[in-house]
C-alpha cells in the first residue's frame, strides 16, 4: 500500500513538474518575442511593432468601366486587353519583426537631429505649427544622413524601410487594394500644402499618413516598372517612392503604387524603421 502511495506521489510530482516545465517554456517563448506594441525614442519619434507575415505584391486586376458612351464592341476589346495585361503578383514573406515610424518624420524631429530645416512648407507657408508637419524637400541621401545621425544619438539600428516592409505595414493584412472611401478617410490628398501629421484616421495597425501628405522614400532602387520585382535591382537612376503626397489622387494614394523620385521635392519625405536585434 505504502509502495503504491509512493508510486502515485511520484507520478503526480512527475506530471506537475511536466506542467510547470511546459509553462516555463511558454513564458520563456513569450518573453523572447515580447515587444512593446509602441516604442518612443528620445526625440519623441513613435514606432509601431510589426509582426512577420506575408502578402501578395503587384497583383494587377485592371478595372474596365463601361458607360453609355462606349459600345459593346469597345467594351469587349477593353476586357480582352485588361485580361491580357493582368498580373498575378507574387508572394513576399516578411521574416523578421520590425518597428516602423507611426508618423512621417517631422520638421521638428529633423531639426533636432540635423540642426536645419530644408522644408518648403514652413514659416508663413503654413497656418499651423510647421514643426509638426512632415519634413520634405529631402533627397534619398539626405534621409540617409538623418538616419546616420539618429543612430549615433540613439545607439540604435534605424534605417529606411524596404519597399516590402513599407507596403506590408501599410496593408496591415489587407489582401486586396484599398477602396477610394478608405483612402479619403486615411490620406491627406487633393490639397495644396502638407498637413500636421496624424490628422487623418490611422491605418489598422495605428500608422498615420501612410497614404498622402508626403511621398516616402524607401531603401530600394526603382526598376522602371509598374510594380516591384521580387528582388529589387542592385542599381538604378532613382529610388522608389511610396504613398503619394498632399496633392495626390485616389488613383495613386494606394499602398500598391510603385513610384519613384525625384517627384517635386516639396512633396517628398520619409519614415524610419527600427530593427529589432
Amino acid at each position: 500500500m505504502m509502495r503504491n502511495i509512493y508510486r502515485y506521489t511520484a507520478l503526480i510530482l512527475f506530471f506537475e513538474s511536466c506542467i510547470l516545465f511546459s509553462n516555463a517554456q511558454s513564458i520563456d517563448k513569450e518573453n523572447t518575442n515580447a515587444q512593446d506594441s509602441v516604442f518612443t525614442n528620445s526625440i519623441g519619434m513613435k514606432f509601431i511593432f510589426i509582426q512577420p507575415g506575408s502578402m501578395i505584391v503587384g497583383k494587377f486586376q485592371p478595372t474596365v468601366y463601361k458607360t453609355s458612351q462606349s459600345s459593346d464592341s469597345v467594351y469587349r476589346v477593353a476586357l480582352e486587353m485588361a485580361k491580357h495585361d493582368a498580373m498575378p503578383g507574387f508572394e513576399v514573406i516578411i521574416k523578421q519583426p520590425y518597428y516602423i515610424g507611426q508618423f512621417e518624420v517631422t520638421q521638428g524631429q529633423w531639426e533636432k537631429i540635423m540642426g536645419t530645416n530644408p522644408s518648403f512648407f514652413k514659416g508663413d507657408k503654413v497656418k499651423d505649427d510647421a514643426g509638426q508637419h512632415p519634413v520634405e524637400n529631402v533627397s534619398w541621401n539626405d534621409a540617409r544622413q538623418f538616419i546616420k545621425k539618429l543612430n549615433e544619438v540613439e545607439k540604435a539600428a534605424y534605417r529606411l524601410p524596404s519597399e516590402f516592409e513599407w507596403e506590408y505595414a501599410a496593408r496591415a493584412g489587407a489582401k486586396d487594394d484599398i477602396s477610394w472611401n478608405d483612402i479619403r478617410k486615411t490620406a491627406v490628398i487633393a490639397t495644396t500644402t502638407t498637413s500636421i501629421i496624424g490628422k487623418k484616421q490611422p491605418k489598422a495597425l495605428g500608422l498615420y499618413d501612410m497614404l498622402g501628405n508626403v511621398w516616402e522614400w524607401v531603401q530600394d532602387y526603382y526598376n522602371e516598372k509598374i510594380f516591384a520585382d521580387p528582388v529589387p535591382p542592385k542599381k538604378g537612376k532613382e529610388h522608389v517612392l511610396k504613398g503619394a503626397s498632399f496633392y495626390g489622387d485616389v488613383k495613386n494614394a494606394t499602398y500598391m503604387t510603385h513610384a519613384a523620385g525625384p517627384a517635386s521635392k516639396y512633396d517628398v519625405g520619409f519614415r524610419v524603421v527600427m530593427e529589432i536585434k
Binding site: P62, V77, S179, W215, T254, A260, D267
Partner: protein, 229 residues
Amino acid sequence: MKIFVLLFMVTTAINVDAQTGKIPEGFTSIFNGKNLKGWHISRSTHQGTTPNFYVENGVVIANENPYGQGGLLMTDKQYKNFELYIEVKIDSFANGGIFLRSNEGGAAYQVELVLPGATGDFIGERIQLSKGAKATDRQKVWKANDWNSFRIRMVGDTPHVTLWINDVQMWDVTETKNDMIAQATEGMIALQCHWTALYSPAAGNGMPLSSWQPGATHRYRNIAIKKLN
C-alpha cells in the same frame, strides 16, 4: 514609271503625319523628330508611371501601358515665360492635355485635349484655377481627324495666358492669383495620356472607357518654344 508613282504614293501615305519641321519664326524646336531626348516620363504622377510614349515617323505618339495606365511625357527643362507651338492630332474618346508649368507629379495649368468635349479649355490639373477659360469658338477653326496647331503664350508670376488654335485666338485670360502649388512660377511642359483603370476593382470603378478608349492615340509634332522675358 507606274511603279515609281505607286512607291511615291505609298511613301507619301506613310509619312502623311510626319514632322514637317515648319515652326513659327523665332521659335526653337524642343522635339528632334527622332527620339525623346530632352523629355522624360514622370514617375510620380497619378496618371500612371509607365505610359507608352514613342516616336514614329517624326511624331510623338501617346498610348496607355499597361492597360488603363496613362502618364506624362515632360520636358527636362522648366519654363516660366514662353510661347509654346505644338501640332496635335487626337483620336476621339481619349483625354489628354498640354500641361504648362507642371511640377514633376503633374500638378499644372492645362489646355485640355479631348473629343468630343472641351478641347482648348484652360483648366487645372491637381490645382484649382482662379479663372480658367473656355474655347467656345474652337469648332469654327477645328480640322477634324487632322493636325491642328496650338500656340500658347504664358507670362507673369500671376499668369497671363493666351491660346491660338490654327492661328485664331480662342481666349486671353489673366488668373487672379498664382494657382500653382508652392507658388511656383516655372515648370515643365508635359503631354498627358489619361488613366482609365485602377489596380483592382476593390478600389473602385476607375474612369469610363471614354477617358482613353482602347487603342486610341494622341499624336504631337513640330513642338517648339520661344522663351520670353
